[in-house]
Symmetry: C2
Subunit: 279 residues, 2 copies
């Protein structure tokens, strides 16, 4: 029987546990606090940032949106520095992408690694690769937290990651390597893609194409993680042909309702951990 | 016929070319300059730093050894900062390991990425993973420069890297991923190691055990890179059983005389490139 890795269920459970940890912190006089930096007027980003703030508040984490409708690189850098240096704030997140003309590298470089709860900076990526303390990028944390919740025992498995993005594929591989886990990373347009995907005892697909991975590309018994979000006529589809692959896999994430719901839960978890580390 | 990837020959050739580039820089009034920081009294490190300085001078690159026989973290950080801020110096290298009590992370964090010609900092590793401009760690640069010299056409091949060290395996995988090259990284103690090594069209071995990779573990026609340096009764042996594997591979590095000689040549190449970038 295939296990459905239900991100809605797992994130609700995780948020419930975090509530308890937040109360314990508050009893010690620490209010876990996240600063969300929003630059420009992109409607999607605004909505997403507001959603993050609402979810924080639900578990008792203080969330403040710092909105700069228009800003130079210097103004963004100095806001990041100010929040980075404020001891009452435990996590700082810069909503990406930044508007054209604002230097993302410089803005992120100003963020101290111990407050980089969304895992956005080069320093964090370097630490990830070295196996030093850091918060992995949200997309990576979301996948790992989901698999840990379902206890699929991924550490002794061979991972295959399809898709080499800066926010999922590459940092996920870096984290696995730093834990001594063997991993194959392959570009989605590889001419012998199926030969590689069939090696995966855990298969992570981040391709951006509806149903790019079919049943015959999956190793029987594999754990399949679908990071796709492909919109077609108002419906969302994964990168994996869920109905076919569920017959082959031992566990699989649905889309929607798999990795997606874990993203914000993971951000809040990191903020709580940063507050615990500071307390 | 197997091609022997001769690092002595390739590094001599590279250094010859660098001489010309150094002369061109000097004609424009720029003297490429490397600062070598040595902390403590380790005899091996002292010898290695002196060797680096001598090789620099041979091609006209100025090399200054800054030796602190004893130093606190603060003293090392302030030396790194001073050299990092000096516009007449193009590359800064901190000889590792630092003596106990000196915080390596803090010392390296003070090094500006554009002068990190030995690829030591977390910022560099993050850039490597993202595919941004940086100098890869010496061990990675040495391998790539050697393969490029022999034009083995590695970009469309599947790479397998055995060994997950901070200075070779992990950053090499990061660089390959950032170029869209598919790569499998596997720990040397993996129970099915041979299954993975046989996948490698390019196989890089960095294990630290004499002849850990035998002929039956190598895919016929593979390019084999041996990063081993195992001393036994005054002789040095690779991680690959060279005599047996040369009958299977299409190209192979010898030990000694393979990757080793490329390390210093690559450091000097990076220093010259840093000088060119600043000029």
């Amino acid at each position: 029987m295939v296990v459905i890795l239900d991100g809605r269920e797992a994130s609700a459970q995780l948020l419930g546990e975090l509530k308890g940890r937040v109360e314990a912190l508050k009893a010690r006089g620490v209010v876990p606090s996240l600063a969300l930096i929003l630059v420009g007027e992109d409607e999607g980003s605004r909505r997403y940032v507001r959603m993050k703030a609402r979810r924080c508040k639900k578990v008792g984490v203080e969330a403040t949106i710092h909105h700069l409708p228009e800003a130079s690189t210097e103004e963004v850098v100095s806001l990041v520095e100010r929040l980075g240096g404020d001891p009452s704030i435990h996590g700082v997140m810069v909503q990406l992408p930044l508007p054209e003309g604002v230097d993302e590298d410089r803005a992120l470089a100003a963020l101290p690694p111990e407050k980089d709860v969304d895992g956005l900076t080069n320093e964090t990526l370097g630490r990830l690769l070295r196996g030093e303390r850091c918060y992995p990028p949200a997309g990576v944390g979301a996948i790992l937290v989901l698999l840990e919740r379902y206890d699929v025992g991924y550490e002794d498995k061979h991972w295959v990651v399809v898709g080499l993005s800066d926010i999922v594929g590459k940092p996920l591989a870096a984290l696995l390597m730093s834990r001594g886990i063997s991993v194959t990373c392959v570009a989605p347009d590889h001419p012998r893609l199926g030969d590689y995907t069939r090696m995966g005892e855990v298969l992570v697909v981040d391709v951006g194409r509806k149903w790019a991975v079919t049943a015959e590309m999956v190793r029987p018994g594999a754990v399949v993680v679908d990071n796709g979000n492909n919109y077609e006529e108002g419906k969302v589809y994964g990168d994996v042909d869920f109905e076919a692959v569920r017959g082959v896999a031992s566990a699989i994430t649905p889309v929607p309702g798999g990795v997606g719901p874990m993203l914000i839960a993971n951000l809040i978890k990191n903020t709580v951990e940063a507050a615990e580390a500071s307390a």
